[in-house]
């Protein structure tokens, strides 16, 4: 079998660099500040576009997310790695997705955006990344004590296609009901007229970049949560080298493109409540660790037929709806009215899951 270049150290550093540079370019082409790519924010925007929440500043079907899944699907088929599977505690994964999203929206970004925020000079991201590390550390403690969600089983090819087909459906809706300048609705879709949801790179460019990153990330197994987990659990720095590569190359690209503005205050789509930046991302990190992948990795796994990862993705989209409908999500003005409660409940649920799922696996 030919060696997979992208799974080597040089390969994953290359992939991190490509993601970092393309994220900076997407921001230059219209995506929101320090949000060239944010899996949580973009899934939240998708939830808004189809009316699952009505926060009118964050409604847009993000082609990058569609591209991530479909690019991974293409890579998986190209290298005979499309393996439809199901049945590893899907409802648990759904709830982990819900609370991962809520934690991310208290911080205002997923791990990808935490890195991109730092690469753009937003020093609040340091608290978020420390929180991410802390949350993953708690998850590793559970893993060391036997936590697992059980084995998956092979399933029908059609089941593996469900999330990719859903993504194709969303893409179709974008062409059937395209954005009309000055209108907040086109057919069944909601479009933001201002705020982050109104800021986006051209559709086809976003889609092509998403497809490319989806392809590369499937080959390299790129995972921002895994970067911390493998370091803490095994002392391995393989995934971490991709993570650091993303940070360094995004930072350089931002400096070249004039998008680097260091400081704590006045940062785009961010607040400077240090405790909640830390705890929000700690909750997300714990949920990602218990689910076995960061939000990007879950999309790439879904693209290669992992329907349990697909359920996690749907949980994140549902979580975004809860976050905005219930006033849990933060904004640049500060925390949502029930954000603190949501973080406490989220930790309670994730800790329960961590303690409860310890079924012994026979070797």
């Amino acid at each position: 079998m030919a060696k997979n270049f992208f799974s080597t150290r040089v390969g994953i550093i290359f992939v991190g660099a490509v993601i970092g540079i393309l994220a900076a370019v997407l921001q230059k082409l219209g995506n929101p500040g320090n949000m060239g790519i944010c899996v949580a924010c973009f899934e939240r925007d998708i939830a808004g576009a189809i009316g699952l929440h009505r926060a009118d500043v964050v409604q847009y079907i993000r082609p990058e997310i569609i591209g991530f899944v479909l690019g991974s699907l293409v890579a998986a088929y190209s290298f005979k790695e499309f393996k439809p599977r199901c049945g590893s505690a899907p409802i648990v994964r759904f709830l982990l997705g819900v609370f991962a999203m809520i934690g991310a929206l208290v911080f205002l970004g997923c791990p990808w955006r935490a890195v991109l925020r730092l690469a753009g000079g937003d020093l609040n991201a340091v608290l978020g990344l420390l929180g991410l590390g802390f949350g993953v550390w708690i998850g590793v403690m559970f893993l060391k004590n036997g936590y697992n969600l059980g084995r998956s089983q092979a399933t029908h090819t059609g089941a593996g296609w469900m999330l990719p087909l859903l993504m194709l459906g969303l893409l179709s809706l974008m062409f059937i009901y395209p954005q009309v300048p000055g209108q907040d609705k086109s057919g069944v879709l909601f479009y933001s007229l201002n705020g982050p949801g109104a800021m986006h790179a051209p559709l086809l460019i976003s889609l092509v970049v998403g497809l490319g990153i989806g392809f590369l990330a499937q080959r390299s197994r790129f995972c921002t949560m895994g970067a911390f987990r493998d370091l803490i659990l095994f002392g391995q720095t393989h995934l971490l080298s991709g993570f650091l590569s993303l940070l360094i190359f995004a930072c350089v690209a931002n400096i070249v493109l004039g998008q680097f503005h260091p400081g704590f205050t006045g940062q785009p789509v961010a607040h400077d409540l240090h405790v909640w930046n830390f705890l929000g991302m700690a909750l997300a990190g714990l949920a990602f660790a218990l689910a076995g992948g960061c939000p990007g990795r879950q999309l790439f796994l879904a693209g290669e037929g992992d329907t349990d990862a697909s359920v996690f993705v749907l949980g994140m989209i549902a979580g975004a709806a809860f976050a905005h409908n219930f006033g849990l999500a933060s904004s640049p003005k500060g925390l949502g009215p029930h954000g603190i409660t949501a973080v406490i409940v989220g930790f309670a649920v994730c800790l329960f899951i961590g303690f409860a799922m310890k079924k012994k696996i026979a070797a």
Binding site: L143, R221, L233
Partner: protein, 72 residues
Amino acid sequence: MSKIVDARGLSCPQPVLMTLDAIKSGSDGELEVIVDNMASRENVVRAAESHGWSVFEIKDNDDKTQIFIRKG
């Protein structure tokens, strides 16, 4: 007869954790690890090699991959 670790249906980090547990439990010097996805295959090989074990054979089938590792 080498010890067998069956990690089919499990995703990372479980296959690696199970492999390292078997390595640490004083296996007699040879192990067969069975996985069913490429990410696990790569991770198990990487982890074994970083613990001073070497891969002496890999059998790839449609539904599973058998990784044979030995100490040293």
